[in-house]
């Protein structure tokens, strides 16, 4: 009974982690950007969804849609206002672009977070669930919303897989992550690929934010933690490896859930941090990463 419960709860939270981390790793794989405003973008999406579903009467579905849209808009703003100026800057030497992108997105994330806190306070907000109520899963009472969360996460991940592996556009993305210079030689414009990857990233981050808001609730204070957890999952799985992130998300999700159930909820994140240190020391390329 307890085992089944851990299995179900761990699955839902893990699939949400996976959705949150996958955009982050895709972005790094294709354009080499570690976006430290990731958590703040998720928060913006969730708060906008909450605002539209509640105060503006758009209902749960309308709210969720506007929320995802807000995620895309914020992602593009991040790209155009912060990341692109750094990438194209002549006065920043190439080998230092990485730290500038890190610092720049970090500052941008703080700005987003503060703006949300200013406009809507830092009290957590919860997005209206798409399907309220509970169902009985083999004797475990499970909120319908938890199942919806897992299903939508997997649907999004599945669509992403189809896009990358089955379409021409997707294959250019894949190629860009392996060898961006070769791709430009073949006549592809990298800037168009970047725009595409930011669009996909925006949808994934926005969706993850909205689902998180409906499942657990989101506060502007969570922005930093959300970024840190996506970062950890992605490093654990191997930077830039999408399948690695999926595996890592489940390792993290289940390890946290097991700790919370079997040891104590107050040290929920500690075993994950320790595992992370061990993996990074023994296998720096991550679980499924290439060297």
């Amino acid at each position: 009974m307890l085992g089944l419960q851990i299995l179900i709860d761990g699955f839902a939270i893990s699939s949400l982690y996976a959705l949150g981390a996958i955009g982050f790793t895709l972005m790094f794989g294709v354009s080499g950007v570690l976006n430290l405003s990731h958590g703040a973008i998720m928060v913006v999406a969730a708060v906008v969804a909450w605002l539209f579903a509640g105060s503006y009467g758009a209902g749960p579905y309308g709210g969720a849609l506007v929320g995802v849209l807000a995620g895309v808009v914020t992602a593009f703003a991040t790209y155009l206002l912060v990341v692109r100026p750094i990438q194209t800057s002549r006065s920043i030497p190439g080998e230092e672009k990485e730290i500038f992108v890190l610092t720049g997105t970090l500052l941008w994330g703080i700005m987003l977070q503060e703006a949300v806190a200013y406009l809507f306070t830092n009290n957590p907000k919860t997005v209206r669930p798409l399907l309220p109520g509970v169902v009985n899963l083999l004797g475990v009472r499970t909120p319908t919303n938890e199942i919806v969360t897992a299903a939508i996460s997997w649907a999004a991940i599945g669509l992403l897989w189809l896009l990358v592996n089955r379409t021409r556009t997707g294959k250019t993305l894949l190629a860009a992550s392996i060898n961006p210079r070769g791709l430009t030689l073949l006549g592809f414009e990298l800037s168009r690929i970047y725009i595409l990857v930011w669009a996909i990233y925006g949808v994934l981050a926005g969706l993850a934010g909205v689902l998180l808001g409906a499942f657990l609730g989101v506060s502007s204070d969570n922005a930093g933690t959300l970024t840190a957890s996506a970062f950890s999952i992605v490093v654990l799985g191997g930077l830039g490896s999408v399948s690695g992130s999926l595996v890592a998300a489940y390792v993290v999700g289940y390890l946290e859930t097991l700790t919370a159930y079997l040891i104590s909820p107050s040290i929920r994140t500690v075993p994950v941090l320790l595992l992370l240190v061990v993996v990074v020391y023994l296998r720096p390329q991550g679980l499924l990463g290439r060297r």
Binding site: E96, L107, E114, T269, V270, V277
Partner: protein
Amino acid sequence: MLKSPKFIATMVILVVMALLPLGVGGYILGLLTLAYYYGVIAMAWDLLFGFAGEVNFGPTFLVGTGAYTAAMLNHYAGWPIPVCLFVGAVAAVVGGAILAVPALRLSGPYFGLVTLVAVLLLQNFIVLFAGTTGGEIGLDIPDVLAIDAAPNYWYAFGFMVVSGGLLYGLANSPVGLILQASGQDAIEASALGFNVTKHKLAAFCVSALFSGLAGGMLIFYLGTVSVGTVVDLTIGVQVIIAAVLGGRRTILGAAIGSIFLIVAGEILRPLGQLSTFVVSAIALVVILFFPGGFLGILQRGEGRS
């Protein structure tokens, strides 16, 4: 060198800063006192980043280790402040070495992540052992450096000038040049016969020493130690922003950046909760348009004239 206009200007500025307590109110002195301590932490961070090329996301791991060791020795054992500071600094170096020896085998984002995780672990550790560490509340410290603003200011100012001088000297010494070479191209540096890892480790330990010492001084100024003042990730973020803002790879720029952040926060105080937003926006604009930071702007102006 001794007659260069830059040197003279620096000396004049330092003398003015040293004489500030004669003409400035206690509150401004208090602000600058904090800024100077954070300045030392930022300079220590810049030694590691600007010269050794390692992005340490967890400067507060070193600061926190030093601060908490010093605080607990004073709180429980009642040892005098200088001894607490010394042991705290040693603890920061030991902690730093334990972290650095394996971590330096890693590069780029991995090194960054390990240092980040170290902070989170320290934070969890402090909260878990709340009985001894004071947990979320923190510990109060019986002894403080001084109660009046002026002596506190001079302590911090002297500490910053000495640390800044040492770090600047080190960075511009032959050792500093080797560090810089290893940071930019580790393979070539080792091909030239330098032990890259050993030099980086040394840089990490020096960085840890000054960070730990600054953490200790800071808490003996504040009179309390808590996660929010010396360990929290946001403090580390401030340190990184200060160093990049002031001008990376300059050491002195880091101190200027710290002073700027605190002074700007103060000037924008009437904006209330929006002040953090505006300070971040200013920092972002500087980074985007003047990647050399404040010192970079100054140097460019000099180059033109």
